[in-house]
């Protein structure tokens, strides 16, 4: 299988899967098998690309010329490879979990759910492998549209309101800011292909213009949830939990921060940004988002809302690290995309399992639940520790690299922000774990057991991955370093 | 303006007057037939606009023979014949519409028609 065929298959398999899922509407077991087969197939195809990318090749595929001089084209590079790996691996796990959750909660419209999921993954891979800004934008908007039916899955008034905020914020930022930024880049640079070192170097832009263009991109990539354009994320919590997991861990927010890092590295280039001081506002905005979101998380009683704001905060870790512009921090940013994904998906799976088994949604209701749902809460603890950054969980490595990178960049404010938010993370996660295991459950409560088997299996897989990632970190780390230009490129 | 300008260009003054009068009638009158009349007056002014300048002082019809040297321009006449036909067709169509409107609404006053549309009706 040549890399080009692999790229085509990586997008074609989820689309074919979507068609297959729709066709198997009447046979739920067959339908679920199609999902799992498609996920496994896609992961296998993506795996075949890892070797060539690590060796330094950048497989490219030109599909068609959409506008004169601009085509729909794919080009696999280390960051995209990492994103694709994470997304395709987690789709398998998310599908297992979805089966348990959707059946356990007797959800309606399951076929539509699985079809949109598959299409969302196709768009995600399109974003990961995009070779230029137009292709990225095409699949980015596609992802927004395809996840709308997922967010509004329940179809009630609350879902409709949540869907409006979701779509409103994401489409506003992408159409008003991101599209303008892309067209402006085309007008100024004559190309919108991604290139190592950036494409704006020769454009002769003033510092202010570079800063302004950067702002258009950063705020235009609404999926990265930089404040004040973060409201869509908590609003999307009306969706069923597997969708939240998809949004937060597998696809949507990851697409956002992926795009942020890709733009910084391949459109502007770290050298250009470091040289003009025009990007100095970005660490400030990211740092503010980290802290503000952590404070809101601390004050949220609703578990999913707390996790949502935790995600907002963690995403800005990636933005902050990327905005420090030193190779180590850029590698840290890429690695954190993977580390946060496995940790967060564990937490969301746990939240969904808690809801399925006990219909509890608030943190204050979780006293003693660890006794009834030991596996779930153990996994939750693992995920929480990873996000706080405790070794040997996955989050520790990326956070450590971020601290190092900030020190290298002499950005002491960033170090302070990272330290403070680590404490805040502990403050809003550890009490949950403590209450779950060490407090007695409220009296007079109906007894319940663990979540459905499939959900627990998925939970265990991701928790294990969270713990195991540092031991199998060679591939993600190598990709991250290759992105940043450290070591073999 | 000199007397010559006013007097010598009386055709154009008539044209402008008809143009403006026609437009005024269209806008200011609510009766559909009166609107059509205004429209016709407006179109008539255009005929004058074309034919007037075509006439040369001392010009005759284009007769190819001895003694006829200065011709008035015959082309505007041709154009205006076409325009008259168009105007007649428009007027006929407009009147046919007015007849149908009368059948459907019972009135040809624009404000009454709009009132009747605003009232809730039993069936669409």
């Amino acid at each position: 299988m040549t890399p080009q065929v692999a790229i085509v298959l990586a997008l074609a398999i989820p689309v074919a899967g979507a068609i297959g899922i729709a066709a198997c509407h009447r046979a739920p077991n067959l339908r679920e098998s199609v999902t799992l087969a498609a996920a496994a197939g896609m992961f296998g195809v993506v795996l075949t690309l890892v070797g060539p990318v690590l060796e330094g090749s950048r497989p490219a595929l030109f599909v068609l010329e959409a506008l004169p001089g601009i085509g729909i084209a794919f080009r696999v590079e280390p960051l995209g490879m990492l994103f694709a790996l994470v997304a395709s691996a987690l789709w398998i796990v998310n599908s297992i979990y979805s089966i348990g959750y959707m059946r356990g909660n007797k959800e309606q419209h399951q076929t539509r759910f699985y079809v949109c999921f598959a299409l969302a993954l196709a768009c995600t891979l399109g974003i990961a492998f995009a070779g230029n800004l137009l292709t990225l934008f095409l699949f980015y908007e596609g992802l927004t549209l395809v996840t709308y039916p997922l967010v509004t899955h329940h179809g009630d008034d609350e879902a409709r309101r949540g869907g409006r905020v979701y779509l409103g914020v994401l489409l506003t930022t992408s159409i008003v800011f991101l599209l303008t930024a892309i067209v402006a880049t085309w007008a100024v640079a004559g190309t919108i292909d991604f290139a190592p070192g950036g494409i704006l170097g020769d454009a002769g832009l003033s510092n202010a213009a570079i800063g302004g263009l950067l702002a258009l991109y950063m705020f235009g990539i609404g999926k990265a949830a930089l404040m004040p354009f973060h409201r869509w994320l908590p609003a999307a919590m009306v969706a069923p939990t597997p969708v939240s997991a998809l949004l937060h861990a597998v696809a949507v927010v990851k697409a956002g921060v992926f795009a942020v890092v890709k733009v910084i590295v391949y459109v502007f280039g770290p050298e250009l940004l470091a040289g003009v001081r025009a990007a100095d506002w970005l660490p400030v905005v990211a740092g503010f988002t980290i802290l503000a979101a952590s404070v809101v998380a601390l004050r949220s009683d609703n578990l999913k809302r707390r996790l949502a704001y935790s995600t907002v905060s963690q995403l800005s870790y990636v933005v902050l690290a990327a905005s420090l512009l030193v190779p180590l921090s850029i590698a840290a940013a890429a690695l954190h995309i993977a580390a946060h994904a496995v940790g967060k998906i564990t937490l969301f799976f746990a939240a969904g399992a808690i809801y399925t088994a006990s219909h509890k949604t608030e943190v204050s209701q979780l006293d003693g639940i660890g006794r009834r749902m030991p596996w779930t809460m153990a996994a939750f603890a693992v995920g929480a520790l990873s996000l706080i950054g405790v070794p040997p969980a996955a989050g520790f490595l990326s956070k450590w690299m971020m601290f190092q990178g900030a020190a290298l960049a002499h950005h002491y404010v960033a170090i302070a922000v990272l330290a403070a938010s680590t404490l805040l993370n502990a403050a809003y996660f550890l009490p949950i774990v403590y209450a779950a295991f060490f407090r007695a459950p409220p009296a007079g409560e109906p007894a319940h057991g663990e979540a459905p088997v499939a959900a627990v299996v998925a939970l265990m897989i991701t928790a294990a991955a969270t713990l195991a990632l540092p031991f199998f970190v060679q591939v993600p780390l190598a990709l991250a370093r290759a992105l940043a230009g450290i070591g073999p490129n | 303006m000199s007397a010559g300008a006013v007097g010598g260009h009386y055709a154009y003054w008539v044209t402008v007057f008809l143009m403006v009068a026609g437009l005024y009638i269209v806008v200011a009158r609510g009766n559909l037939v009166k609107k059509l009349i205004g429209l016709s007056i407006f179109q008539t002014s255009v005929y004058l606009l074309y034919i007037g300048p075509g006439k040369l002082i001392g010009g005759t019809a284009p007769i190819v023979a001895e003694g006829f040297r200065v011709y008035s321009n015959p082309l505007p006449h041709v154009l205006i014949l076409t325009a008259i036909v168009v105007g007649v067709a428009t007027l006929a169509l407009g009147l046919a519409l007015v007849v149908r409107i009368r059948e459907a609404y019972g009135t040809i006053e624009e404000d009454e028609i709009l009132d009747r549309d605003r009232e809730p009706r039993g069936g669409e």
Partner: protein
């Protein structure tokens, strides 16, 4: 040689089909003749497009009278592009009409409906094909008069008043145009457009020229539904039969844009006298107002046909905005949007016609739960809506790209913000449909589950597919628009 006679045949075939249909009387035969004529015109339009691509300009002397004394048909890159759009829409709508018109027009009048449709098609094609200013007026009135009749054949009695109002406003517009042509004839002595452009620089007295330009612009703007002369459009589109609305939305205003382009660039561009008149600024301002206010009004309409009509006024604003920008990118954006909006609105109105056939109306209470009742129709409307918003992958995105590029190249950032910001208003009114169709349970006015007949679905989905196709593979629409734009700017 048929090839040499193609420009004339383009107009003559539908023109002759009309009286033959009147003689034929039977509805099925009338439809078959209309279909044959529409498809022939489309084939001829494509052949002409290829000829123009090879030769640059196709010129045809009507009756072998040489120009500039005789009437000349002159088709250049812009004209060929618009011809393909108009004839193409005619070819797609004709098969649709068989069931749609039968449902909405009284049976004994169907043959007259088809005859009027043929006249309308002939008129629109003639406007684009002709190179003579007065001949343009004749075809303009042929198209307009037949349009008034077509609109009046709608089911609702309000279509009569809508047709009457359109008649009044349209005739005033055409008469203004003819006044302008008269003044131009006075000053240049010719009616042939190309000849006029050649003679204009020599004219020293500029006041009549400026007056002529003003009259022509106002007259055509009435036909174009440029704000604030757009008042006839919402009623006309809402109450006309569905097939008529679809055909008109895609062609009539676009042909008027063609006339505006022809005058602005080919004729007025030739003389330096017009440089002082602030046409560009005025057009820019009016376009901006049109885009914003019409989009906002569209959001609050209770009836989806009316909503799309106001959306059309806004989208025409985009086209005139691109014209006002007058640089390569802006003009390419305007001309490509002429095409893209034509196929998008055509698709949307054809799909709504299917809804009207099943539910009787297209008001939002009928659309509740449409996603279940008519899934293919709803999904098609969603895709058309995405093209209106300008989501990448659809034709509408391509237009937005060029308009934003044109604004940025002029350095006018507020224009770029206007274009992208107004797309958000489009999200608001498109999402009204999405929420009604997919997130609301069916109400008492909703149609029973069951798709529209194939005769309606196939043409509509052909256009929906075109929306996506021309959004991704843009060599025809962007290439044609860019060539036309370059030609126009070069003539300046």
């Amino acid at each position: 040689m048929i090839r040499a006679q193609l420009p004339a045949l383009l107009v003559v075939v539908p023109l002759l089909a009309a009286p033959v249909i009147v003689l034929a009387r039977r509805a099925a035969l009338a439809w078959a003749l209309a279909l044959a004529a529409s498809w022939s015109s489309f084939a001829i339009a494509i052949a002409l497009f290829l000829q123009v691509r090879a030769a640059g300009v196709v010129s045809y002397a009507m009756g072998s009278w040489p120009p500039p004394w005789g009437i000349e048909y002159r088709i250049d890159a812009l004209g060929a592009f618009v011809l393909v759009l108009v004839a193409g829409m005619g070819a797609v709508v004709a098969p649709y009409m068989r069931r749609s018109a039968a449902a909405e027009v009284p049976g004994e009048r169907l043959y007259l409906f088809y005859a009027m449709y043929m006249l309308c098609l002939a008129g629109l094609l003639g406007i684009v094909a002709t190179g003579d200013a007065f001949n343009l007026f004749v075809f303009l009135e042929i198209a307009s008069l037949s349009t008034y009749v077509l609109i009046a054949l709608g089911r609702d009695r309000r279509s009569l008043l809508a047709a009457f109002q359109y008649l009044i406003m349209g005739t005033i517009g055409a008469t203004f145009y003819v006044i302008g042509v008269g003044l131009l004839y006075l000053m240049t002595g010719t009616l042939n457009i190309a000849d006029m452009a050649a003679r204009l620089p020599a004219v020293t007295e500029t006041r009549p020229l400026v007056a002529a330009a003003a009259f022509v612009t106002v007259g055509i703007s009435l036909k174009l539904a440029l704000f604030p002369l757009h008042f006839w459009l919402p009623n006309a589109y809402t109450y006309a039969p569905s097939a008529v609305t679809a055909f008109l939305a895609a062609t009539a205003t676009k042909v008027s844009v063609y006339v505006l382009l022809r005058y602005f660039f080919t004729i007025f561009g030739a003389s330096p006298a017009f440089a002082e008149v602030p046409f560009q600024e005025a057009l820019l301002a009016l376009s901006a107002i049109a885009i914003v206010t019409a989009s906002l009004v569209a959001v609050y309409q209770p009836d989806m046909k009316r909503m799309l009509a106001y959306s059309s006024v806004a989208q025409i604003g985009y086209i005139t905005l691109g014209i006002a920008m007058a640089n390569r990118a802006g003009l390419t954006g305007a001309i490509v949007h002429l095409f893209n909006h034509g196929i998008t609105k055509g698709a949307l109105f054809l799909l709504l016609g299917g809804v009207a056939m099943r539910a009787g109306r297209a008001s939002f209470d009928c659309l509740a739960g449409l996603g279940r009742a008519m899934p293919l129709t709803s999904f098609g409307i969603v895709i058309g809506g995405l093209s209106l918003i300008g989501i990448p992958g659809t034709a509408g995105f391509v237009s937005k790209w060029y308009l934003v590029l044109g604004a940025i190249e002029r350095g006018e950032w507020w224009l770029a913000v206007l274009v992208v910001g107004s797309s958000l208003i489009a999200v608001a009114y498109v999402w009204r449909f999405v929420e009604a169709a997919y997130l609301q349970p069916p109400g008492p006015a909703s149609p029973r589950p069951g798709e529209a007949p194939l005769a309606l679905l196939v043409p509509a989905w052909l256009l929906v597919g075109a929306c996506v196709w021309f959004g991704l593979s843009t060599s025809f629409n962007v290439g044609g628009a860019a060539t036309a734009g370059q030609l126009l700017l070069g003539a300046r």
